[in-house]
Each structure stands twice: as structure tokens, then as C-alpha cells.
Amino acid sequence: MSISTPGGPERRPTVVSTGKKPAAGRPASGAKAGTGKPAATPRAGGKGPRKPVTPVKVSQGRAWGPIALFVAVGVLAAGIIGYGAWASFQGAKPWDKKANAIDGIVNIRKTDKASLEYESHKSGPLTYKYSPPVGGVHNAAWQNCMGDVYDAPIANEHAVHSLEHGAVWVTYRPDLPKDQVDKLAGKVRGVEKMLMSPYEGLDKPISLQAWGYQLKVDNADDSRVDEFIKDLRVNASVEGPTALCNQGVTATGTTPHELQQQPPTQ
């Protein structure tokens, strides 16, 4: 750093008191020592032996260099601290606030809570108000949602139960190009509380579901896809974060599967 004082870079600003000046009979050396310390900080290296030098009177000389430097450092520090605070504040925002901020998301918990309520599990085919469904009555069995990527349509009745357990269900139109399907599958495969399947009759290429939430997009590259998953996976669970996604139905087909009676394991 260079402090612009006339007389070249090796001329230190001489106004910094070294305590060697006769200080007009003031007993202020204590205070000076106190304030002198910070005052010495902006002087970078090159602290040679301190020579008492007569101060050069610059016209009402404020040393603008150090001031500018201090201001710059201060602004930078405030910026860093401010950004950190803002980022952690954003990160601590409740998940539902973040979800509601996603452009184009439909919050059925707000608009149509009644459609999500149900008495108890039901077997056999069920009708749903939304396509794909986002909640309501469902089968006793859930569709396995341990990052399963199904290559054929699955039963709504099982998928809705997965949503209740906190899964995000990615659905796409069967005619979606393969590279788009692969991109979506990359976000699902191996991630618990995620499942994905083609869906007949979608009005948009891609539709994402969580319990009480839906978002339809045209493209797997849309950044809102990742946002939806980040904000709603696990969070949207009706039964808490540890509801089960394994031990579910792994078969495809849109007719709900009646659970097979197996001989009890010994």
C-alpha cells in the first residue's frame, strides 16, 4: 500500500506522534499511547528506526490515503459480514416460506386443504382431484421411494402414500426426450425420499409433486426443479422426517397392487 504523501514513497507520514515531541506540557501521553497504537496500524512494513521529524504542514492536511484505505477495508468487512448474515438468514428461512417463493408453485395446502384430508387407507382404485395427485386418501402400501426411477407409470394410490412419507415424486410426459429423462433421473437415483415415473396425460413435460405442493415445468434444466426438491424433500412429510420409504411396492402399473400375503419369515 502506498500512502500518497508528497516526497516519495519512502517518506513516512510524519504526523503520527511518536511521543518524542515535546507535547506542549500535556499529560496526555497515556491517552496518546492508547490511540497511538491503532494509528500505527495503517503503516505497513518499513518501520525503521523512528526519527523525530518535524511535521510537514500540508494545508489543513488530512491524510486522505489512510482514510480512503480504512473506508475501503471497512466497507469490504461490512460487506462480507453483511453477506454472511444475509446468507445464513436465508438458509434459516422455514422450508415452507422457501417453497412458496418458488415461481409457479401451486400450494394445495393453502388453496385446497380439504382435498388432502382423508379418513383412513383404502384399497382398490381411487379418484384424485389433481393430476398427478398431491395428497388425500391412498393405499395402505406406499411406492418404494429410495431414489427409485420407474420406467413405466405407477399407481397414484401408492405414490400418494410416498408423498405422505415426505417423498418428492418426479413425473414426466412419456414423450420427453431421453436426455431430459436422464437428467431428471440423475437428480433422483440413489436419493432417499425421491421417486420418478412417466405419467400419461400430463399437460406439461415435467411435473413435480410433494404432499400438498405441485410445480410444472417445461425443461429438466429449469433451476426450479432443484429448488423444489431441496425445499420439499423430507420437509413436506406428514409423518416426520423418519417416515419410511423402503419396504414399499416396487412394481409398476397404474392399478394399485393388493399386498401379497407372504409366509411370515422365521
Binding site: V15, A31, G34, G74, H121, T242, Q247, L259
Partner: protein
């Protein structure tokens, strides 16, 4: 930040009147005092921020701690019953709901034990079970509301065929009723946001499960 001020006062030194009320010293003292006050204020604020959670977190005999400990005990038996049913029940829907209850409640035990650790409390309390409940819920033979007796547990373990389903469904139904009773007591007495959130989730889940258990009981009657 004091450097500019310091440099600024230097030219004044020459003209400063020697009386103690000189402007420059006052300004200098003022700056030093201000700096010290700011630093002390920041330190006090920081210390307050560090200490406050310690002072306001639930104590050893709080409702929150009692709930976490007793609900852990209560849940543990539900997990045991459910895993018996998951292994040996006849109806697939019963096995399905059993594994759901077992893993769900085991997970909630994990959450409640984590609270106790974070509050610096032991998983075991010195107060008798249920003493945090003000409505004087009774503990019969060390059992909290809805818990199965040792005889009932033995009977469930020894049961065969559809009898496993029937016994499990009845025991779990009563278990949930007692659990909801305890949860309601906690909800009525705590204002800890995290405890309220988890307790409310437990209650919603168990109420829906009551309907499903009742429905399965009709199925298991055969």
C-alpha cells in the same frame, strides 16, 4: 479508525492552550472512551448471546424433559410390538403399518434423545415417570397410559397366525390412545417450538393410524 483523528490533532498541538480543557485531549479521550465502550458493549452482547440459550433451555425437571424421557419409553414398546407384527402377522396390511410405526417411532426416539443431549440432560430422570403431567395420569405397575402389560407382551410373542394380527391391533390401538393423551398434556404445557412441532406431528400421525388400525381390526375379525 482513530488514525485520521490523531493525525488531525497534531497540527492543533502547537496551538492548544495548556489548560486542561483543551479540545484535542478531550476529543482524544472521547475517542478512546468511545472505542472502549463499543468493544465492551460488543463483548457483553456476545456473552449474552452465548449464555441466553443455556439459561432458557429446559431443565432437568421440565415438562419437555419429562415428555422426551417418558415418550421414549412409551415409543420403545410400540417399536417392539410393531416389529413382532412385522415379522409374524398374517395380513400384509398389518405388516405394512407395523413396519411404518416401528421405523417412525424409532426415528422419533432419536429426535427426543437428541433434545436431551442438546439440553445437557441425562436420558434418565430423577423424577418418577409421568410426574411432569399435571393431570395426574396414573402409572400402573410402572406402566404409562396405554402401555401393554408384561403378560400381554408375552401373549403377543407367543401368538400364531391371525391371532398375532388381532392382538397387535388391539394393543397398538390402546397404546396410541395413551400416547395421544400424553402428547396432549405436553402440548398444553410447553411453548418450546421444536417440542410443539414434533409433538403435533406425532399426534397427527397417531390419530390417522388409529383409523387405520380400527379398519384393520374389522378385517382381522375374519
Amino acid at each position: 479508525m482513530t488514525a485520521p483523528a490523531t493525525t488531525d490533532t497534531e497540527p492543533d498541538d502547537v496551538v492548544a492552550t495548556p489548560d486542561e480543557g483543551g479540545r484535542a485531549p478531550a476529543r482524544r479521550y472521547g475517542l478512546a472512551a468511545l472505542a472502549i465502550m463499543v468493544v465492551v458493549g460488543l463483548l457483553l452482547g456476545y456473552a449474552g448471546g452465548l449464555l441466553t440459550p443455556r439459561l432458557v433451555r429446559p431443565g432437568d425437571s421440565s415438562v419437555e424433559a419429562g415428555f422426551a424421557r417418558d415418550m421414549t419409553t412409551h415409543h420403545a414398546q410400540a417399536v417392539e410390538m410393531s416389529l413382532i407384527a412385522y415379522r409374524s402377522a398374517t395380513l400384509p396390511e398389518v405388516r405394512q403399518i407395523a413396519v411404518d410405526i416401528a421405523t417412525g417411532q424409532q426415528g422419533e426416539i432419536g429426535a427426543m434423545q437428541t433434545w436431551l443431549r442438546e439440553w445437557g440432560l441425562s436420558p434418565t430422570g430423577s423424577n418418577p415417570p409421568m410426574s411432569w403431567m399435571s393431570d395426574g395420569a396414573t402409572v400402573k405397575d410402572g406402566l404409562m397410559p396405554g402401555m401393554a402389560t408384561p403378560q400381554q407382551m408375552t401373549s403377543l410373542r407367543d401368538a400364531k397366525g391371525i391371532e398375532v394380527d388381532r392382538q397387535f391391533l388391539k394393543l397398538m390401538y390402546d397404546h396410541h390412545l395413551g400416547g395421544i393423551h400424553m402428547i396432549d398434556a405436553a402440548l398444553g404445557e410447553t411453548d418450546n417450538a421444536e417440542v410443539v412441532r414434533v409433538a403435533q406431528t406425532m399426534k397427527n400421525t397417531q390419530q390417522i393410524e388409529l383409523n387405520n388400525l380400527r379398519q384393520l381390526q374389522a378385517q382381522a375379525k375374519g
